[in-house]
Subunit: 302 residues, 2 copies
């Protein structure tokens, strides 16, 4: 189970109700944070996410509205007692930005920070999931990040194990974890004898800022959730294409084409304050299972 928490859902400049981009995946006791716009620390504390969790922050691109909240969040977490190391990943530029801020501002960060400038491909691997970066269509290098849980062994059937004479205990556990076992009588029992089909993990894509492009289609294929930027309504299609942004309709077309299960629109231009219903309608006409994000929205994915 993963909870997606939208801390900031605005674009370029904040509106009354939307701060700048910051979206968190909460999985077990870990936090995976996409972008860190100004105000992130404020919403982060409001949301009670906890400052000392295992955590990786992934920055989509080096525009100010996506990174100006990073120095504040990392210093505030230290102030409030963080001791666990923190990993920050981004496109080229992220290292120079953080280095120069932390060199010019006196601070007392008491935990380790590792910053990595990555090429597209697998950018982070944990025991149970990986994160891949795809380079997309924007005015500067932008990464869409694909979070993918690794495939897990299928469901264990105790009745089948009993029938095959596998005694309850350590051998069951071994089979559940996908290893074959040898019984006392010499018979070999394979995991597939007692397990159902392998279970697919959850796939969530965060696009960052992007116009429609082939890499986004590749990234989003059969995603459980696509968190897609939708800076503009379809009336501003030309502007969106020129700037490397998406409209509601472009995002919905990607979700449809990629056979995604759910689409969540974010990075909404401040000009649509109070006009969000229209944006949502545009997308829903093409892809029914669409949500329009707001600051504070939480979505659970199973």
């Amino acid at each position: 189970m993963i909870e997606i928490i939208f801390l900031g859902t605005g674009a370029s400049v904040p509106s009354r109700s939307r701060m700048l981009p910051c979206i968190v995946l909460r999985r077990k006791d870990e936090l995976i944070v996409f972008d860190c716009g100004e105000g992130a620390q404020y919403r982060f504390l409001q949301s009670g996410l906890g400052v000392n969790k295992k955590m990786v922050i992934l920055i989509s691109h080096m525009h100010g509205d996506h990174v100006f909240g990073l120095p504040g969040l990392i210093t505030t977490m230290s102030f409030l007692g963080r001791t666990k190391p923190l990993t920050i990943i981004g496109p080229p530029g992220i290292k120079k930005f953080l280095n120069c801020v932390l060199k010019t501002i006196p601070h007392h960060i008491r935990y380790d920070i590792s910053v990595y400038e990555k090429e597209p491909g697998v950018v982070y691997e944990a025991d149970e999931y990986i994160i891949e970066a795809y380079e997309t269509e924007h005015s500067v290098t932008n990464y869409a990040y694909v979070f993918k849980e690794k495939e897990r062994p299928g469901k264990f059937h105790p009745d089948k194990a009993m029938k095959l004479g596998v005694p309850k205990g350590p051998l069951w556990k071994k089979l559940q974890m996908g290893f074959p076992v040898v019984l006392e009588d010499g018979r070999i029992i394979r995991p597939e004898d007692v397990l159902g089909p392998p279970r697919k993990g959850i796939k969530i894509v965060y696009t960052g800022d992007t116009g429609p492009c082939e890499d986004i289609i590749s990234a989003c294929k059969e995603a459980d959730v696509i968190i897609h930027e939708a800076t503009y309504s379809s009336e501003l299609t030309e502007k969106a294409l020129k700037e490397g942004h998406s409209t509601t309709v472009m995002a919905a077309e990607t979700a449809k084409r990629c056979k995604a299960k759910m689409l969540i629109l974010t990075h909404i231009s401040a000009r649509y304050e109070g006009l969000e219903d229209k944006l949502l309608e545009e997308a829903k006409r093409i892809f029914e299972n669409t949500i329009l994000a707001y600051d504070g929205l939480k979505v659970t994915v199973k």
Copy 2:
């Protein structure tokens, strides 16, 4: 008349209700901004202050909670159409910080920004006011800023001018502006013949972060308003002194000793969320005309 607008009144880390330090003086069509903590642009836009006013930003010291909102505010003002030049003043370090952020983050700022690292003394002079910096007691160089309107000529008495035979018109205007005039009969009329006593300008002090010290006393003498940091309640006197911060009581004692007209407490630690009444009481016992600032507070000074 000057309006003081409190955009951020927290300290170190934001609380639910307080963003980080940013306080604006609105005088005629100008804005004088003290500090620029994270969230400043958000509150700035909410307050409808206008992004294209004549404007000077004064940074008290180079701790992140007082400057991390600066990059966002200056880029957002450009995005929303600012064309007027902007002056930024601060202690040593402000130039390096802004240079390195604006060099590492792609942006399109379309107006001129002048950044000055100043020594204590007069740091800014306009036609009708000056701003002075006093170095105070903190863990890094901190400037208290003293905003002082220049003395204006006294009130004009038309009856006195008539009696002295000064004809209504350009000569009246000249006298009102403080210049002597010569009448047709050769007599010289001096401004003091027709004007009341010179009118004192408004004096407002913003302390930034500081413990009690002689420079604060000098800066605050007979101020109309002291905007004083009060990070802690009096129970944490030792902590305050150790860190170069003030308690409510220290701020109130300064206001009393300096014969100020009004004290406004700001830079309130997040630990006092919901306990502000107690802080205010502590100060009021010593200096009655005290207000405890909150984000969004506006105070008019005449």
